[in-house]
Structure formats: structure tokens, C-alpha cells
């Protein structure tokens, strides 16, 4: 049903135009004798066609068109102005001012029907295009979400691939990623960054794929030489992930490279210190170490939470960024909750 707004101070014209609009079929006429009241109505309603008389008190048709077109989203609505055939100058002004076409007075039904139908066809086409644009926008959003989901899945699978060769478990990855998110939030990073670190942190040890089994799976303490090889996993992970167009994978590359750096510059692989270590690296360092300490491994028992917290506090300003330690401890209740939620159980293969 097309909504057709009719504005004319003459009741007889209003009635005539209304009758003709109703005869068109599929139209719902809305009548106003006062253009100011019509304009008020237009603020909350969008007509499909406007038919406005020229000569009216208080506000003439040209002024109405200007005010109507100035309303948000009313620029394209078809508009017909009713004028006497002798008002050529008015017609020019109306065309410049935004009228789409004219209706001659006295109104002729054949002309009226043809012109209003043309205008309503135009409106139908406009709506069709707008609907299509909305549809396409939704489609693009859905496809983008789909691609992002696949990207996440791929990242998870890459992280799991490293896991298969690593005694660390899927639950470790989940826990340290959530701890990282808690720290990011308590540091005041925005939600987008919080989500990014949650999604990217699981890739921190992906470089272990390149470490020989004899070293990676060794139950005892590594020799100095073996540890030097083990340390290569940071750079290997970076090389595996760096240069991606994906924001998540790029963040994963940065985390892989920097999560073993220490705040005092004694870490590896680049011995960078303080704020020269990217914030994601400083965050993941706290999250990863805390979870490693509090988890049981083939070569060690799990530390108590108290001992692990003492280790973090002792490492403030040395191994760890003190602000990251504070942010971690500020979220303690949530840390405990995540630790309970992601227990070390056998994670089913994908």
C-alpha cells in the first residue's frame, strides 16, 4: 500500500485528489489542509508520494518542498506540485526546488493517473533498490562473519597441531588465552584488543612444531645446548605467522616472538626490555608462566596457587611487567573461575 500525502488548503481539491488517488488502487491517501501540520507529520512518517498545491496561506508549495526535502531521508521521495497552467515561473522554481513533476489545474484524471503512477513506479524502484542494498549489506556481513569464523577455526587447528607434539594441553591454551584477556581488560585495553588477544594468544607456542622430539618431549632437564634449540620456538612461531593480512595471525606472530622476553631485558630471543616488549607479549608472558606453574607436567608437579602468585609478585619488574602482574591479580576471582572451567581433560580431536 502506497502512502500518498496530499496537501491543499482547498477542501474541494483535497477531496478531488483523494478520490482520484483512491481510484488508482493500492494507495492510502493522507490529507492535510495545513502545510505546517503536514510537515510535522512528515517528521515521523515517510510518504511514498507527495502531492502539494502551490498557492497556500502561511507556507506555499515551494516553501513546503524546501522544508520537506531538508528532512532526513526525504530527498528522494517523489513529489508532484499542483499548479495552474499559467504559473510558468512557479513551475521553474519548483523544479529547481525539488519537485519531480507537475499536475495541471483543473485536474484532469487521465493526466493525474499517468503522472502519479509514474511517480509511484519510481518510488517502488527506489524501495526495491534500498531493500537490495540492505540485503547485500546483510549478506556481506554474514560472509565476513563466516570468513572470520573459518579464520578462528584455522588458528585453533594450527594451535592444536603444535599441541600434538607438545606435552602442554588444549586446556592450557584455553586458560592462558582467557588469563591474557583478563589482564588486557584490567589494563584498560579496549574490547577489540581484549578479543584479539583472546583469539591470538593460543598461537604463542606454535613454533614448537619445528623443535625436534628429543628436545620437545624430553622428560628431564634440558642441557644448555638443548635449551638453545628449544628457545628457537619463539622465532619459528613468528616466522610461521608473520606477514599475514589477518589481524589475529599478525597478533599471534607478535606474541610468539615476544612472550619469552623478560621485562628486565634478560629474556629471549631479542633481549628487549620494558615497554619495548609489545604489550601483548608482556601480558601473555604472565598468563603463560602462571598456567605452566600451576599445571602438572611430566617432569614436575603443579605448584599451589599461592606459590605461583608469590612467583609472579617476586618477578614484578624483573621477569614481568609490574602492571601486568597487578592486572592479573586484580582479576583473581575470574582467574580462579577460568582455571576451574578449563580443566586438563582429554580434548576430543576435531
Amino acid at each position: 500500500m502506497h502512502s500518498v500525502l496530499i496537501i491543499d488548503d482547498s477542501e474541494i481539491n483535497l477531496t478531488l485528489i483523494k478520490a482520484l488517488v483512491q481510484k488508482l488502487g493500492g494507495c492510502d491517501p493522507v490529507l492535510f489542509a495545513d502545510p505546517l501540520r503536514a510537515l510535522e507529520w512528515c517528521k515521523d512518517n515517510v510518504p511514498d508520494l507527495v502531492i502539494v498545491d502551490y498557492m497556500m496561506p502561511v507556507m506555499d508549495g515551494l516553501q513546503f518542498i524546501t522544508a520537506f526535502r531538508a528532512l532526513h531521508g526525504r530527498n528522494e521521495i517523489p513529489l508532484l506540485m499542483v499548479t495552474a497552467s499559467d504559473q510558468k515561473d512557479v513551475r521553474y522554481d519548483a523544479l529547481i526546488g525539488g519537485a519531480n513533476d507537475f499536475l495541471n489545474k483543473p485536474i484532469d484524471r487521465a493526466e493525474f493517473s499517468a503522472r502519479t503512477r509514474n511517480m509511484l513506479s519510481l518510488r517502488t524502484a527506489q524501495k526495491h533498490l534500498a531493500n537490495r542494498a540492505v540485503h547485500l549489506e546483510a549478506e556481506v556481513a554474514a560472509r565476513t562473519a563466516d570468513i572470520r569464523d573459518r579464520e578462528k577455526e584455522l588458528i585453533f587447528r594450527i594451535s592444536r597441531a603444535a599441541e600434538f607434539r607438545d606435552p602442554e594441553t588444549g586446556a592450557h591454551i584455553q586458560r592462558m588465552a582467557h588469563y591474557s584477556q583478563i589482564i588486557a581488560r584490567n589494563l584498560g585495553l579496549d574490547e577489540r584488543q581484549q578479543r584479539l588477544i583472546l583469539e591470538a594468544a593460543p598461537m604463542h607456542d606454535v613454533g614448537k612444531i619445528g623443535i625436534p622430539d628429543g628436545i620437545l618431549l624430553k622428560a628431564g632437564k634440558l642441557t644448555t645446548d638443548e635449551f638453545e634449540i628449544m628457545k628457537k620456538h619463539a622465532r619459528l612461531g613468528y616466522e610461521l605467522l608473520a606477514g599475514s593480512r589477518s589481524e589475529i595471525i599478525s597478533a599471534g606472530a607478535e606474541i610468539a616472538l615476544t612472550h619469552h622476553e623478560k621485562y628486565d631485558g634478560t629474556g629471549y630471543p631479542n633481549q628487549v626490555a620494558g615497554s619495548a616488549i609489545p604489550i601483548f607479549g608482556r601480558i601473555v608472558s604472565v598468563a603463560d608462566v602462571f598456567d605452566a606453574l600451576t599445571s602438572e607436567r611430566p617432569y614436575k608437579k603443579a605448584w599451589s596457587l599461592e606459590d605461583a602468585v608469590a612467583f609472579l609478585e617476586d618477578g614484578r619488574g624483573k621477569r614481568f611487567d609490574p602492571l601486568c602482574v597487578d592486572a592479573f591479580l586484580a582479576g583473581w576471582d575470574e582467574v580462579v573461575e577460568k582455571r576451574q572451567r578449563f580443566q586438563d581433560v582429554v580434548v576430543p580431536l576435531l
Binding site: 474541494i12 482520484l20 498557492m55 485536474i107
Partner: protein
Amino acid sequence: MLAYSLNRPVILERLGDDEEILAMMIDMYLQDVDNNCSALDSALAAEDASGLLREVHTVKGLLATFADEDGAAMAFALESRLKEGDMRDAEAAIAELQARMSEIAVVLQGEIGG
């Protein structure tokens, strides 16, 4: 100016041969004619040139709607003078217009058998 007679075929052609709309228009004309005449008087008495111009324009439209070409031409001539700011003879012209409207009202009344 010739006496007004209702040119039914011309009007009906414009209305797409819709008798129903014509009957409605006649009815509305008869309802509004007194108001239209008194609006002309009021604007004239108030020496409201723009108001008078608007009322004369409305009457011109009404006369044209009922296919009164002579009456519409008379209204158009007055409208043109008023646009120029010429109020001379406006009173006489208004009286003439009002007489024409009343004449049409009588004819239309006859049409509907009242």
C-alpha cells in the same frame, strides 16, 4: 460574459467519466460557496492584498474545475492585477466574481434537483 451552463461532457472527461466524483465535487462546491464568497469579502475589507490574491486564485481554480472558462479568465485577470499590486477596481471585480459563483451555485443546485 455568457451565462454559465454546466458543460458536463468536458468536466466528466477530466474526471475520467466518473459521475460519482462529479456529484461529490458539486456537493462540495455548494457547501463551500458561501465561505469562498465571504473569504473574498474579508480579505478585501482588511485590504490584505496577498490574502485577496490567494482567495481569487482559489476561486479561479474552482471556476476552472467546473469548466467556466469565462469566469476563470475573469479571475485570472484580477489575479494578474493583484500580483502587480493594483487594487483599483478590485471591489467591483470581486463583486462580479461573487455573482458568478452564486450563478454557478444555482445551476449546480438545479443539477442535483435541489
